[in-house]
């Protein structure tokens, strides 16, 4: 399991071996990570991976079975939510419909015993931070979806919590608004420097918004790394498949030396990289190559550091910025392969039924235990 690089500063959040079991299911298994002050972490995973349970344990809605949660130097695992300095934005926003936007934002200040004096100014200041200045008198149902999001953010931040939690608040929005709000969250988060944990199943959101991504599956943290490393150097087969469009070629390891692996797939030998030195020749492996790292090559056009394989076009789709090819690979046992041609205007379109040679660099083939 990947560990966070220890920062020089005291972490704002430290989880140590936090676990939660629901009946027979282990929802979260010994989750540990540190989070530096001011950084943005995304917990990414499919539904049911335990990410929401983990977030709710940090928020205080669910009590962990074991492990410790330290927030700003103080252990909080036994504290109720109202005693933790955590702001939270929910997927359903959970605005109070009987209060105006300003009353919603003032609510945590009143509940947390902030002085009355200056409260109205503070509420107005946070409303303008989220670009809702002057709309404080409106009720939630008089605001658009995006504006409601902003009220929820202002309400979660107005009391200057140590930590901001985002429980998939963007999942219900349409794509355009979601992408706008991703950048908006990031802007506000940078402006205020608030440490943030975001939960999502949307890989794009994770890549766009985060300083660090924590990929979860089956209650376990699979990888914790920055977005580029998570995408470029997935820790295991699950992470490789969850982010991006990845082709998996099942085979056997022929040899492995200094991270360079040779894999045999249905009699074809392919070179690739393998980060797992424990694998022995003969082990069942999955060789993975991303759809955008595969190209269609003319005959005899391949470079010495490339593998080339014959394929047959099954389907081709034009998506504006790319051709998406579905191929069948007779020399790899007929397995399907997906390929993105990211320069569709410069290349001819290959029709279904056409035989083509596809190629990828050796270093783009990642070898994982099957």
């Amino acid at each position: 399991m990947a560990q966070a690089t220890t920062a020089a500063a005291e972490p704002m959040v430290r989880l140590e071996r936090v676990s939660k079991r629901f009946g027979a299911t282990l929802a979260v298994e010994t989750a540990s990570f540190d989070l530096e002050p001011g950084s943005f972490l995304t917990i990414l995973g499919p539904s049911g991976c335990g990410k929401t349970t983990l977030l709710r344990m940090i928020a205080g809605f669910i009590r962990p079975d074991g492990g410790s949660i330290v927030l700003n130097g103080r252990p909080v695992a036994a504290d109720p939510p109202w005693r933790r300095s955590i702001g939270m934005v929910f997927q359903k926003l959970a605005l109070f419909p009987h209060m105006t936007a300003a009353q919603n934002v003032a609510y945590p200040l009143k509940m947390r015993g902030f002085p009355r004096q200056g409260m109205a100014e503070r509420v107005e200041r946070y409303l303008s931070i989220v670009r809702l200045g002057g709309l404080g008198g409106r009720r939630p149902h008089e605001l658009s979806g995006g504006q409601q999001q902003r009220v929820a953010i202002a309400r979660a931040l107005v009391f200057e919590p140590d930590l901001l939690l985002l429980d998939e608040p963007l999942a219900a929005l349409d794509r355009k608004l979601r992408e706008d709000m991703q950048l908006e969250f990031r802007r506000i988060q940078r402006e205020l420097g608030v440490t943030t944990i975001n939960v999502t199943h949307d890989q794009r959101e994770a890549l766009v918004m985060s300083d660090r991504i924590l990929v979860m599956e089956g209650g376990r943290i699979q990888q914790a790394a920055n977005p580029v490393d998570t995408y470029a150097r997935p820790a295991n087969r699950f992470v490789a498949g969850f982010l991006g469009v990845t082709n998996f070629l099942p085979g056997r390891l022929a040899s492995l030396a200094e991270g360079r692996a040779v894999v045999e797939v249905e009699g074809t030998r392919l070179e690739g990289l393998c980060a797992d030195p424990s694998l022995a020749p003969g082990a069942a492996v999955a060789a993975a190559v991303r759809a955008e790292r595969v190209r269609i090559a003319g005959t005899g056009e391949t470079a010495p550091d490339e593998s080339d394989v014959e394929g047959e076009v099954v389907e081709v789709v034009f998506e504006g910025d790319r051709f998406v090819y579905e191929l069948r690979m007779p020399s790899l046992g007929g397995i399907p392969l997906r390929l993105f041609d990211l320069d569709p205007l410069a290349h001819p379109r290959h029709a279904p039924g056409e035989r083509v040679t596809v190629a990828w660099r050796h270093r783009d083939l990642m070898v994982f235990p099957a």
């Binding site: 205080g60 809605f61 702001g87 929910f90 109070f96 419909p97 009987h98 509940m111 939630p140 009391f159």
Partner: protein, 321 residues
């Protein structure tokens, strides 16, 4: 008959021709151009029923304005306010009215206070078995009926009852709750509880659990969340349940009759006595009119205070996001 479906000799199968016949009959009774009125047709039975009830008030009002002629034991031919004067001047009716109104207020407050946590638990619990248990316990008393339940309470509260046996066992002095006002109130609260819970549950279901979680994460302790979030958001259900419990209590007959032991009559008991003990239908009608007025006035005040939107007619359309 099974073969008739395949019988194409007569052109169309018998089944379809039967449908044609029905269709024609429908066209005759309720032509297609009447279709826009169809929704109103469904409203008609209910409107007729409530209308009938309102119309029933007219003969009642008529009777209430005719004092009893003590010579003939018939209601007078001419209108007079004698019955209402009797109600106003005989102190016993004031006492009964006050006792009934007080019971309405106390029972409503107590029932809502007990029903709210019950309904909340029923709506929010994660455990299916607990929800089922709460629901079954709620509906079980419905099958028993008010009279039997009242006698059940007498068994518990009576001199040789379970309560006194328990007190005796604990070495405490026996209580004499049976046939008291308190006994009537206890019986009524228990009777009203299911109604209140059933009306509160949907109102609480309409409050998303995330709203409660958000309130907690924003710094509110459970009581503050209840007071500032749950109470205002569940207001339609609370007001509706309150109105139902209050009016049911105000007009209740069996509980004060059985558990009050004759000394704790409500208005309904007085109505009964006027009609069937005194044989004075005029006085009984006046009591009935008075009860209707008091009940309507209280409900009117509640609705004026909280607004019609309280019942969810207007606010129910708000997005609860």
């Amino acid at each position: 008959m099974a073969s008739t479906i395949h019988d194409k000799g007569a052109g169309r199968p018998v089944g379809l021709r039967l449908l044609d016949l029905l269709e024609a009959a429908r066209e005759l009774l309720w032509p297609a151009r009447m279709a826009p009125l169809t929704p109103w047709l469904f409203l008609l039975p209910a409107v007729l029923l409530t209308g009938l009830l309102a119309a029933g008030l007219i003969p009642l009002l008529d009777a209430s304005l005719r004092p009893l002629d003590r010579a003939t034991f018939r209601l007078a031919e001419d209108y007079a306010l004698g019955n209402y004067a009797t109600l106003a001047t005989r102190p016993v009716y004031g006492v009964i009215a006050l006792r009934t109104l007080m019971a309405g207020l106390i029972v409503t407050a107590a029932t809502l206070a007990l029903a709210f946590p019950y309904a909340w638990m029923m709506v929010r619990t994660q455990h299916a078995w607990l929800r089922k248990l709460l629901l079954v316990s709620l509906f079980l008393p419905f099958f028993i009926g008010q009279v039997v339940r009242a006698y059940g309470w007498l068994i518990i509260l009576g001199k040789q009852g379970l309560l006194n046996a328990l007190l005796d066992g604990l070495g405490l002095p026996p209580s004499s709750l049976a046939f008291t006002y308190t006994a009537v109130l206890i019986g009524l609260v228990q009777y009203m509880l299911p109604f209140a819970v059933l009306m509160l549950a949907p109102a609480l279901t309409a409050v998303p659990v995330e709203v409660e979680l958000a309130s907690a994460s924003l710094g509110a302790r459970p009581f503050a969340t209840f007071r500032h979030i749950l109470l205002p958001m569940a207001r339609p259900g609370i007001v509706a349940a309150g109105i139902v419990v209050f009016t049911l209590t105000l007009t209740d007959f069996a509980m004060p009759e059985i558990m009050g032991g004759g000394g704790n009559d409500f208005i309904a008991s007085a109505v009964y006595d006027a009609f069937f003990q005194l044989g004075d239908a005029g006085l009984g009608a006046a009591l009935g009119i008075g009860l209707t007025l008091v009940g309507s006035a209280v409900v009117g005040v509640i609705l004026a205070f909280f607004g019609l939107g309280t019942l969810g007619y207007v606010e129910g359309r708000e997005e609860r996001s």
